[in-house]
């Protein structure tokens, strides 16, 4: 159920905030064994602020990499498995002040690194549409708990596609606004220049409502933006006739894949073309645009290079010295080494080693700085296209959520571009939203719309009108 429907029920007195909490809490426990959305489920109803906002009294969930004073925050990593923060992330503070009711902290890929939802220290998160499939990550639990109907909205973080990809696999809306629109203070950093805070909702309107509450300048985050003074939920009903969208020919044109036997991919792309036809019906002009295959192929390596480099440094505070499990050893070096050896999974260590290698003096120019240049080139090219077009419309993924253990060819065209283009929005800080657009093999697929920097309202507006046209996705039990 969406926020406005719950609002109505609350305002009419049909239900109380506590009723909603009890219902959410019950569902959270009920689905926990099967789907594993949560690291921590909050069992005590607590509602301090009676401020009058659209979300007052409404339950929500937070990804477990947001600092919550007095509430365990693990980032789904063993090294933080007992870490109880002493301060609140700005987004948590804002949601509390707005009267939102936190019902739990959700599972992520360890330290938000990874896109499968399978690497958290408390186990894998399963896809509500098919338990044999993964939900995607890293904001796995936050996506699952909205897809399961436990909460109407949840908060996630998005460094490469960590909100928008799982949203696609889980059949929900996932939005990350412009870089700096929402404060990152209190979000455990993965790759600071790419990290965004965003939300999962059941409809575009709710994404606007939640963003309205979260946005604004935070003196504790120097990269945060002055508030644009807009109320997004009031901007999304405008006529979008004449707005221009484009998609990448190299990734979406069926001719590119004419030798492919990937049925799922072909069906997804056909569905994408159908969605585009629907878009045209509401007056959106959609064009096929050739980008630059080389640059598109470089998205994934550039993303990995930059994010691993920043992640290595950002997580260097996890030594077991100030907090976390203290390692053993005869010297400080040994103690830190032991804590980190025991605290991180192999996958994380691999990323740290990569990041460290990338930043080494002798490699930095060739690896790190070149990746930064590729990033710049891609963003420049996007901005050039944004002079003519209002947004990029793309399939959010090359297909449906994969099954656990399913192997993908990481160097295929499908993988390199269709599975990774969402990182473009992180490179440039562009506002970007994923909305469900139908089903393939009974599983959800989605489109993604990415717009000009600062134009969060335009992106939400276009997405809302498309959603109105093609309808919301209902999960069949």
């Amino acid at each position: 159920m969406d926020i406005l429907s719950l609002r109505k029920k609350l305002d009419s007195g049909e239900v109380s905030s506590e009723d909603l909490f009890i219902e959410s809490n019950k569902l959270a426990h009920q689905y926990q064994d099967e789907y594993n959305s949560f690291v921590t489920i909050i069992d005590k109803y607590k509602m301090k602020n009676r401020k009058d906002t659209l979300i007052t009294g409404i339950p929500y969930a937070l990804k477990d990499n947001f600092s919550t004073s007095g509430i365990l925050t693990t980032a789904s990593s063993n090294i933080l498995k007992d870490y109880v923060p002493v301060y609140d992330a700005t987004v948590y503070k804002k949601l509390k002040n707005a009267g939102g009711v936190l019902i739990g902290k959700t599972v992520l890929d360890e330290l938000a690194m990874g896109g499968t939802g399978t690497t958290g220290h408390t186990g894998v998160v399963r896809n509500p549409w098919d338990k044999e499939r993964l939900i995607g990550g890293s904001s796995a639990g936050s996506c699952a708990c909205v897809a399961l109907g436990i909460v109407p909205f949840s908060i996630g973080s998005d460094t490469g596609d960590s909100i928008r990809k799982p949203a696609s696999f889980g059949g929900v809306v996932g939005f990350k606004p412009t870089y700096g629109r929402i404060s990152r203070y209190g979000l455990f950093a993965f790759a600071s220049s790419l990290d965004h805070v965003g939300c999962f909702t059941t409809c575009v309107r709710d994404a606007a409502i939640v963003t309205d509450i979260l946005k604004g300048r935070d003196p504790l985050d120097m990269t945060s933006l002055e508030d644009d003074g807009k109320i997004y939920s009031d901007c999304i009903d405008k006529d979008v006739k004449g707005k221009k969208l484009f998609y990448f020919k190299e990734a979406c044109n069926l001719d590119v894949y004419k030798d492919s036997d990937d049925e799922e991919l072909i069906e997804s792309l056909e569905k994408f073309q159908e969605t585009i036809e629907e878009c045209r019906k509401i007056g959106l002009e959609v064009s096929e645009v050739s980008f630059d295959k080389e640059l598109l192929n470089a998205i994934y390596p550039a993303y990995m290079t930059i994010s691993c480099a920043e992640a290595t440094s950002n997580n260097a505070n996890l030594t077991g010295i100030q907090f976390g499990p203290r390692g053993e050893g005869n010297s400080v070096d040994e103690i830190m080494f032991d804590a980190r050896t025991k605290g991180f999974s192999e996958l994380i260590k691999r990323r740290f080693i990569l990041g460290s290698y990338i930043l080494q003096k002798e490699n930095q120019e060739k690896l790190y700085l070149n990746a930064c240049r590729v990033r710049r080139l891609i963003v420049d090219k996007m901005n050039e296209l944004f002079e003519k077009y209002d947004g990029l419309i793309m399939p959010a993924s090359g297909g449906i959520a994969p099954k656990f253990g399913e192997k993908t060819d990481q160097l295929s065209d499908r993988y390199l571009i269709l599975e990774n283009h969402l990182a473009i929005a992180n490179f440039g800080g562009f506002p970007s939203i994923t909305i469900p657009s139908g089903k393939v093999k009974g599983m959800p697929i989605a489109i993604n719309i990415t717009g000009r920097i600062m134009e969060d309202d335009v992106v939400l507006n276009i997405a809302n009108k498309i959603e109105e046209k093609i309808g919301r996705l209902e999960r069949g039990e």
């Binding site: 990499n65 947001f66 600092s67 925050t73 980032a75 933080l80 870490y83 923060p85 002493v86 301060y87 992330a89 990152r184 203070y185 209190g186 979000l187 455990f188 950093a189 790759a191 600071s192 220049s193 003196p219 504790l220 985050d221 120097m222 990269t223 480099a309 920043e310 290595t312 440094s313 997580n315 260097a316 505070n317 996890l318 030594t319 010295i321 100030q322 907090f323 400080v332 070096d333 830190m336 460290s356 930043l359 080494q360 003096k361 930095q364 790190y368």
Partner: protein, 475 residues
């Protein structure tokens, strides 16, 4: 004899209200871990917020050291693991330091030396560690305090030059108001790099590094010890090992660690602090606030005001005294006298009263005016000093005292003659003794009388002249 090549890296804490990247107070405290916030502890999710005041002060210091400023402020991360570094990286400046390619002219004994400055950058201090036998304790009070690092070129060639440079640099910090630069509180620390080379060689010798020396005296001892140690090694044809050494309490240096490879700090630009462009206006605003510095003042005092270098160096030791001297010099144009009075009277009084100049009652204007009265021969220096002490004690303008008590030297012939004639008329016996018994000393008796009558204000020399003249008239 070998040629000594020394380079210095000086760390100086910047005086600000809060820390460099957090809002915790930037205060010295002996109570551990009280000036600490989530940011200083490097807790997950924290973000740095840059302290503009620290940036402004670092830019100001860079300007005072004749450096070029960058076009924008950006910071870099220096990555390494150590328990005193809670984030696992230090926010510092590599790409665009606050200043580059500067210099500082200093006085060394009887010559002037230009010390080239490689760069000045702003960074954050680490926590401090206390080591015990079986454990160590971490105090995060220092974690995040803004720190300037000034790196010289390897252009210093003796311990005297090094000490003169450090003293001159400290005076720049203090004159600019950017730091109290107190070594005893660890606010100013110094790394010394030193190597020796053959007099005619063009190849630098092997460098030895001495880290974190916290007093100027130890810098001197360490340099002198190293020169001796390295000379002996070279004399014997042995090699100097490239290493880091520390100075011990006995004034000798001991090896700390061998330098195998330089540590790779994996620098990259701090992504959480967006670049801030520096406009010419902004820099000009800062530049305007730089006072005239020691070197410039010494040159001015000696070349334009006729003051000796020794006195000039005393006057510029503190900016307040130098300013005081300059203000007084606006009132009294005999600069040499003003200098003498400031050094003998003002500095001595401050010492005696154990107060700072800002608590001193006597303003430079008052001093200048009193000196003027003395120089006009209207008041003896002794009396002037007495009046000044009285003025300080009673907090009254000394000129007011002079006026009120009608104290000023009686100097004109007519007034003095009036007292002389009165005395002669009143003491016929003494006149007779002078004239008839040739008792010459009687004239001093009359000087005494005149002083008595004039309330000690008659000019005694003049009085004597007139006494002799009047007595002789009566012969």
């Amino acid at each position: 004899m070998y040629k000594v090549v020394i380079g210095l890296e000086v760390h100086c804490e910047v005086k600000t209200v809060s820390k460099n990247f957090s809002s915790s107070p930037n205060n010295y405290s002996t109570i551990p871990n009280i000036n600490v916030s989530t940011v200083d502890l490097g807790l997950p999710g924290i973000l740095p917020v840059v302290n503009e005041e620290a940036c402004r002060k670092a830019l100001k210091t860079a300007m005072a050291l004749n450096c070029q400023n960058p076009d924008e402020i950006i910071f870099d991360r220096k990555n390494y693991f150590y328990p005193d570094l809670p984030k696992g990286y230090q926010i510092t400046q590599v790409t665009k330091p606050m200043g580059r390619n500067g210099y500082l002219d200093i006085f060394v004994d009887d010559y002037v030396k230009r010390v080239d400055i490689h760069q000045l950058h702003l960074e954050e201090d680490t926590a401090s560690l206390d080591h015990y036998e079986k454990y160590s304790l971490i105090d995060y009070n220092r974690s995040g305090i803004p720190l300037m690092e000034i790196v010289t070129e390897p252009c210093i060639s003796s311990s005297d030059e090094a000490i003169s440079f450090l003293e001159a640099l400290r005076s720049v910090f203090i004159y600019c108001g950017v730091s109290d630069a107190r070594s005893d509180m660890g606010q100013m620390r110094c790394d010394v790099n030193i190597s020796l080379m053959e007099e005619d060689s063009k190849v630098l010798g092997t460098k030895v590094e001495m880290k974190n020396i916290n007093s100027f005296n130890n810098v001197k001892l360490a340099i002198e010890y190293e020169i001796e140690r390295q000379s002996k090694l070279l004399d014997k044809g042995e090699k100097v090992v490239q290493e880091t050494r520390r100075i011990a309490e006995d004034g000798k240096t001991y090896p700390m660690r061998k330098k195998v490879d330089a540590v790779d700090y994996k620098y990259f630009i701090e992504p959480n602090l967006p670049p801030v462009k520096l406009s010419d206006e902004y820099l000009e605003e800062i530049r305007k606030k730089i006072p005239r510095l020691q070197y410039e003042r010494v040159i001015d005092y000696t070349e334009n005001m006729g003051i000796s270098k020794e006195e000039a160096l005393i006057l510029v030791k503190s900016r307040e005294i130098a300013d005081y001297f300059e203000s007084a010099s606006k009132v009294c144009k005999n600069y040499k006298e003003v200098a003498r009075w400031v050094i003998t009277l003002v500095l001595a009084s401050l010492n005696k009263l154990e107060i700072e100049l800002d608590e001193f009652f006597l303003t430079p204007k008052m001093l200048g005016e009193v000196i003027n009265v003395v120089l006009d021969d209207k008041l003896s220096e002794d009396n002037a000093k007495k009046i000044i002490y009285k003025a300080i004690e009673q907090k009254i303008d000394p000129i007011e005292i002079i006026k009120k008590e009608n104290i000023s030297r009686i100097d004109d012939d007519e007034s003095v003659r009036k007292f002389v004639i009165e005395a002669i008329v009143e003491n016929p016996e003494q006149v007779r003794q002078y004239l008839e018994e040739e008792k010459d000393y009687v004239k001093n008796y009359f000087v005494g009388k005149v002083m008595q009558k004039s309330n000690r204000q008659a000019n005694p020399t003049k009085a004597l002249e007139i006494i002799i003249e009047e007595l002789e008239k009566r012969r």
